[in-house]
Amino acid sequence: MEKFTQHTGVGVPLRRSNVDTDQIIPAVYLKRVTRTGFEDALFAAWRGDPTFVLNQEAYSSGSVLVAGPDFGTGSSREHAVWALKDYGFKVVISTRFADIFRGNSGKQGLLAAVASAEDIELIWKILETRPGTEITVDLEARTITCDDVVVPFQVDDYTRWRLMEGLDDIGLTLEHADEISAFEEKREPWRPATLPAKHLPPVEIKAARPSGVPVEISRRP
């Protein structure tokens, strides 16, 4: 993972609360088996709207998203983080993030920075008054600088350390493989295992067939 210490880029004001992961990337885009190339899927439902913030020239190259409260709620899809990253975002700022989204961000080097509602309102006003204004996010100092405004943000110490060192979680854990093995030795024998597989008797599953009514007719907008 790339080390993250400081980032400067165009700020994008997203004045919406409860931006759930279905909004960040609809389920239809989750069928891909690759880890990149999700930039077209980001905020797919809103991208067709010319007034949407990313469709405005001044914000379209943005890399610091400044969002309303409860960003990233809902589904656990890490694709939401990949889509933000693939589009070019390095930082998302909100007053509150959903747990799973925040965890996924940390694993992927996207900084989820928690700032106060008052400070976000201040930054929104600057970004809306002067579209294209750049924001500097300093992870070492935990500050957000937007124009002449400098405000603090929160990120937990462990995530900050991992981001600044660019560390891979799996490699870190595997340094403790002996301790994992020791734990496994002590597990109770009755704890369940998926193998060898146990089943009820096998039964043939009949395929359901379409009913007589074509779906197009039974669907009424």
């Binding site: 409260p69 589904s75 369940p192 193998l195 359901a208």
Partner: protein, 484 residues
Amino acid sequence: MAGTLAEKVWDAHVVRPGADGAPDLLYIDLHLVHEVTSPQAFEGLRLAGRPVRRPDLTLATEDHNTPTLDIDRPIADATSRTQIETLRNNAKEFGVRIHSLGDADQGIVHQVGPQLGLTQPGLTVVCGDSHTSTHGAFGALAFGIGTSEVEHVLATQTLPLAPFKTMAITVNGQLPEGATSKDIILAIIAKIGTGGGQGYVLEYRGEAIRGLSMEARMTICNMSIEAGARAGMIAPDQTTFDYLQGRPHAPEGADWDAAVEYWKTLRSDDDATFDVEVVLEAQDLEPFVTWGTNPGQGLPLSGSVPVPEEIADENERITAERAIEYMGLTPGQPLREIKVDTVFIGSCTNGRIEDLRSVAKVIAGKHKADDVRVLVVPASARVRLQAEAEGLDKIFLDFGAEWRNAGCSMCLGMNPDQLAPGERSASTSNRNFEGRQGKGGRTHLVSPLVAAATAIRGTLSSYSDLGTGTPAPDGTPLADLQTV
């Protein structure tokens, strides 16, 4: 020291305590895998030359993408087909057990774990799916993870996890007629909000929770994530043990006795303290439906669409205005007057056999409203078989409903089961986000009983709208229907 249920399960799984603010490294007992959030994780293993550490603690099933019609034919959608074939190849390459489409044990991952007896009290259970919280109904610590974490668990069978806070949600008393566990959880989410559980493991307690069947408990824990919670749990009791005993992977003989003895210790101590406590009175509950575009935007069915001007908080007002516009509703409109196009009965929230039975008992001998499409999608192939053994399929078909094969289906519309733009559903699923069930689709979350009554009348309805005080069609008192 006195501990909560969640703390006890956590403590029993710490491989390595975190020092200096680092998270604890937790052992994972059961890792469930499906086709959508796993391909990039397996790819990561392949690139790093790492094996799956414990294939014997891993189980894969196909659910999100699978069609619910013509399952014996090739999957028409090429990208869905690729994703499912990728899972099959990965399972084969890494030695992971898989239940594929057409297999009797295929189904939604959160139904398959419990029905095989793999989900047990006191386990840590993870899956790349936020509704993994379902398994907390057994007293397991179960939560959804992202794809990087899926890779981490595949490689190490552990996860570094930050500590959580605890919230007790006590539901006192008994549910009134027509209210179900779905109404309890929708009411809880409306009360604490979609972010109210953030950072917490919720423990549901109290007389109303104790009185629920295992499946009804799963419905509640399933939607913990809709309150933003890390997980939801219910302490195991005799109901839990009875559900588990005799299932394929439940312990047997002396192992069973040893397991039950341990499971009985899995309860919050009387003097344990929670960071937050919330209390609800069950008798105040009535059928709940959502009117907006997040699961916290719910109201009793007797209510009306909110009037944004009356909402004091600016953010909430804007959110409500946007939701009402998206949903095509009018402020002040009675919820009972909302007409639906589709009724979806299924999902990991309410696609189990008890849900299908309660719907069947309400609709037996009746026919659906003319303009309404009714989809019944069992949560697993076993649930479908069980329903057919009980003759429920005939009741659904006579009613005019479609009886489908198992999967996630219209809950998230990754397969062909989708709403058209502007189409409105009453859905027993878990999320009413914009476009969740299809681009432009409008979702009202409801209980199976409300779904059944709505399918009959064509407008959002409760059981009582079908004729106050009448027993269910076969003479079973309604009170018995919720915990069949």
